[in-house]
Amino acid sequence: MALDSKQDDRTHQFKVVGTRPPRPDGIDKVTGRARFGADMTAPGMLTGRILRSPHPHARITSIDSSEAEALPGVHAVVTRADFAHAVADAATADVLDNCMAGDKALYDGHAVAAVAASSPAIARKALKLIKVDYEPLPHVTDVDAAMQPDAPALHEGRANETVPAGLSPNVVARCAFGHGDIEAGLAQADRIVERTYRTEATHQGYIEPHACLASVGPDGQADLWCCTQGHYMVRNTCAEILGMDQGQLRVTASEIGGGFGGKTTVFLEPVALMLSKKAGRPVKMVMSRSEVLRASGPTASSSVDVRIGMTKEGRITAGFAELRYQGGAYPGSPVDMGAMAAFAPYDLENVKTVGWDVVTNRPKAAAYRAPGAPMAAFAVESAIDELAKGFGLDPLEVRLKNAAREGTRASYGPTYPAIGLEATLRTARDHPHWSAPLGPNQGRGVACGFWFNFGGDTCVTLNITPDGTVTVTEGNPDIGGSRASMSMMAAEELGIPYDKVRTVIADTGTLGQNEVTDGSRVTFAVGLATIEAARAAKREMCRRAAQIWGIEEEAVVWEDGAARPAGPNAGTHPPMSLAEIAAIASNTGGPIAGHHEVNAEGAGVSFATHMVDTEVDPETGAVKILRYTVFQDAGKAVHPDYVEGQFQGGAAQGIGWALNEEYIYGADGVLQNPGFLDYRIPVASDLPMIEPVILEIPNPGHPYGVRGVGETSIVPPLAAIANAVSEAAGVRLTHLPLSPPKVLDALKSK
């Protein structure tokens, strides 16, 4: 087949991509038919429950479960002793230890035992009958305190080779990025800002608690249904932990009620499988909200020192940041990504970041939307704002003056191809929001944000059905409308209507390995594979048409949903539509499908600029968000409604992080606010409309120019809001969240 050139460049006129059709899972989700994690059932199903440590740090000296096992209705009790298979990979061994504590409980809420019983009431009763002897140990929950040489140590010997000798064993990794000479750069500055910025740990706050249903047969074959961002990851991790063959464990992803990174690992699944194996019955486990907050994977809290120098004209001469993130009880805080993202929006001669990964007696951090970047951007964008305002310069112009562009060597190493940061800044500057008047006690803030975006392992199969409709089979849980986007890209490529395509998410037995739904990768990578699968199907359909017409394959092209002779030399055969070719496929060689397997590269980085107006109540310190506008480069917005939704949702999560959300630990090391009443995420009456402005600077790495959009939108809000509140309050605020007591204290200290 000669590929139609119009189908292969980023400037061609799209027919489906860029429109706003209904999403295929929509009806199910507005009628209550959609099946989420906790909605699954199986015949003979038992209820699984977990016993959790009340101590932030304790040696487990013994566990006696004999009374629980003797309780009528109890079918299995599981402790760490049941997980006898040696896990070779250190990171996976940590996942196991996080799912079920070994010698020590490392945080309040750490799982120590589990039961499976014939009813929830019996399971609850059984937990109370398990006797655990704890030897409480000193604990530490603050990142800076945990780095002190005399801090209580969680582990020994976990520091990797990057960590200099002589530090607390809680310091487990160091990273550094940058180029140039910081001191030389600072010497050229007219002013230097040097400050420490702190953020508290926040939770992704997905409304659906973790849930799964496991069924293990005596032959070793197992099935698992769960709400996850990546069922292939669940399969691989659980298989390693339980010592099973990956091929014997089939995992099916339910509809997922939010994840934001928090469902990119496992918490319940290995335990449910072990309970099911021991009980010989299916076992369903569902976390309570309190369990979600205490024992799933919030993001890191941070403490960041920044030094930035600027000339009075607004040119940044040097930028330095030292970032300390605690990622809970195991190595793996997102400090490395924070250190890479901190200065990524800027074209700097002298830039350096150093990151420290620190363990504390808190739950093991999981990814949270652009992991590590929002806190880093908060620190850097606050300092840039302070410098710009100190010189009386326009903070948008200062950012434009220093903005990274095509050819800029990024602070973390690579040289950027075409990027959209300047476009977001110029559009922000020209937007009516920027020049709208402000009232008393009000302030306006701006900030930029960056995210890498990922690609990764991806498989798509596209089947042409006998009646000429199309099924796209992919392996990435749809968390915000991606099935619609895949159907749209397949329809675009095949030249058929959107409603002739249905996209389904396959179980792990159906496709090869797929990376999890993370890194803003799905619309980019699965989209790319969908387009390539459609192209493979088109090639096959052209081959069939050539065969029917008795001409060479190369003499057939695919245009407007049909195979056509390429030119007058190919003959005068009337076009054959997809449906016509499909109808006689059995006579021309059999069923027609296209598939594509790839480790997708070229994801294309993403930038945003956010603008926010806030009002500070001088009596109470309460902050109200008055107006919010998001400017972000989407590359190409496949379904603009859901791109806007990502912009708005990221901003709203950032507003919660900036103003209200925080993990609060008392001196006892116990989480004090494990519920939505006290861990308060933004509600409808807290927010204004959030205006999304989509910019489209095509990503050269995708056939349609698509970039991921999901994560960048949470990077600028922390800083944008802090800058706005600092202006409104007349005092620089450096510790999030900007809750009323903190803002009131700052007002009083003026």
């Binding site: 038919r33 009620g257 994840g259 909200r289 709203a652 509600v683 927010l687």
Partner: protein, 159 residues
């Protein structure tokens, strides 16, 4: 412990079930009556994902006992559409892309319907405050508020 026999009305249909005294209405709807549209997001009345209407009153099903359903009329998201005809709110939620993951959607729809039955012409602030008990983590609420206002306008025109 002996089970309690309860007779009730669910989305207009007669229904009966046995439950334990400790079971919530949400447990009963989901585990005994097979109506999993109402979701448990918190179990403490803070998230609204289990919003249902009992005798005309909007409640969190997780805060009411199953046994208390006796003799009452319960409405859930499963009862909103008439046959294959979606309720205007359901249609407008789809038209406005007012859902991403969809876990909060049943509760929001039930709560919004309850609002429009009381106040057919709410302004944005009224919608925001009425829905303040229904958490959504994906959307930032923008498209949800627009969908409710648009559905209200359409319903007013139709009536």
């Amino acid at each position: 412990m002996s089970s309690i026999h309860v007779t009730t009305t669910l989305n207009g249909d007669p229904a009966e079930f046995l439950c334990e005294a400790e079971e919530t209405l949400l447990d009963v709807l989901r585990d005994r009556l097979g109506h999993t549209g109402a979701k448990e997001g918190c179990g403490t009345g803070d998230c609204g994902a289990c919003s249902v209407v009992v005798d005309g009153r909007l409640v969190c099903a997780c805060l009411m006992l199953g046994a208390e359903a006796a003799g009452r009329s319960i409405e859930t998201v499963e009862g909103m559409a008439e046959g294959d005809k979606l309720h205007p709110l359901q249609r407008k939620f789809l038209d406005h892309a007012a859902l991403q993951c969809g876990i909060c959607t049943p509760g929001l729809l039930v709560a919004a319907k309850s609002l429009l039955e009381r106040e057919p012409d709410p302004d944005e602030e009224q919608v925001r405050y009425w829905l303040a008990g229904n958490l959504c983590r994906c959307t930032g609420y923008d498209k949800i508020i627009r969908a409710v206002l648009d559905a209200a306008a359409e319903m007013r025109e139709a009536s």
